[in-house]
Structures are given as C-alpha cells and as structure tokens.
Amino acid sequence: MPVREGLARLEGVESTSERCNRQTGTAELRAKKGRLLSPTVLSNQIAEIGVGARLRGLEATIKGFVERKDGKPVLRVAKSNEILQLVPLATKVQIDALKTKQPEPPTREEKNAHERLLTRVKDRPQSVRITGPLRDGMKLEVRTFEMR
C-alpha cells in the first residue's frame, strides 16, 4: 500500500503532500483540527503501513503563547491545554538527501533561535508561532519563530 494512502487512512490526518521533497527527504502532513501528534506513535504507525518507509523525525509549526514556567520557557499551545518545553535546536529533520544523506547543518539564525526567543520572553504570555523538531517528552526544538 502506498505510504500516502496509508497515512490518509489514519484517524485525524487531514492531508499529506503528494510527493516528498527530494532535496530534504521530507513530506508535509496536516492533522485535523490542528491536533498534536506524538512522533513515536506516528513513527510506529508509518512502520505499521508496511511499505518500508521510516519516520526520521517530525517538525511542527505551532501557534501558541510563550511564557516561563518554573523558570523555563514553554509554549502553551493555542486552543489546547498542551504545554511544550522549548529547547535549542539539536538536529534538523531536513537532510541533504541527494548528497550526504546527513541532516542539513543549521544556519546561524537557526542555531541561536532559542536564545533569541528567550531574550524576548516577558512575564506575561506572548503570542508566537514556532517551527522546529517535535521531540517526545513534550519538547519542541526552536528552529524559527515569529512573535505576533
């Protein structure tokens, strides 16, 4: 069964891109109602489809409110009760799929995105849109962000 067809059958998946990005070895997915996915469980589901595909990582673009909780920066995800711990970018989901097969090196901006975000976190919650790899344990690596 094609990977795309298998993913489309999963409860909660709204759509997937028709083809993967050949340069970065990635594909887009949208969840119904903007739901939050677990990378591990999604990985298991993709393995379950049984066509030899493997989830290397999962990046998300999430709207919410950045604030401090117990001194640590967190993202309170909009329209939900979910709270994600914000951490520095470790490894990009995008790879150089045509040459090295290794994760793309982060740009300088991407490397210091978490640090730059911290300097802008105030006492009150601020509206933000953050993009970065989603990790188990409710962690979001900050690759890019946009304050609203």
């Binding site: 059958r9 083809r19 903007g34 589901q45 673009t61 709207k63």
Partner: protein, 38 residues
C-alpha cells in the same frame, strides 16, 4: 497497513487533543522520487 481497525485505535491515541498545530514536516526515509505515491 495490516489492519485498518488497529490503525484507527492507535490513531485515537495519537490524535487525542485538538490544538493549533498549523502543519507538520515529516522527515521520512522512503524511496524518493517515487516518494509517497508509490
């Protein structure tokens, strides 16, 4: 997919919450460019 019913059951676990995740980018190792369609 081995069993659609199993996938649906697992799916409820995965997609338990509603939220405002605008999009996902999956890093996926699959035989590109046949990619997701084959």
């Amino acid at each position: 997919m081995k069993t659609p019913i199993m996938a649906i059951l697992i799916g409820f676990v995965v997609f338990a919450a509603s939220a405002e995740v605008l999009s996902y980018t999956m890093g996926i190792d699959v035989n590109c460019p046949s990619g997701l369609t084959e």
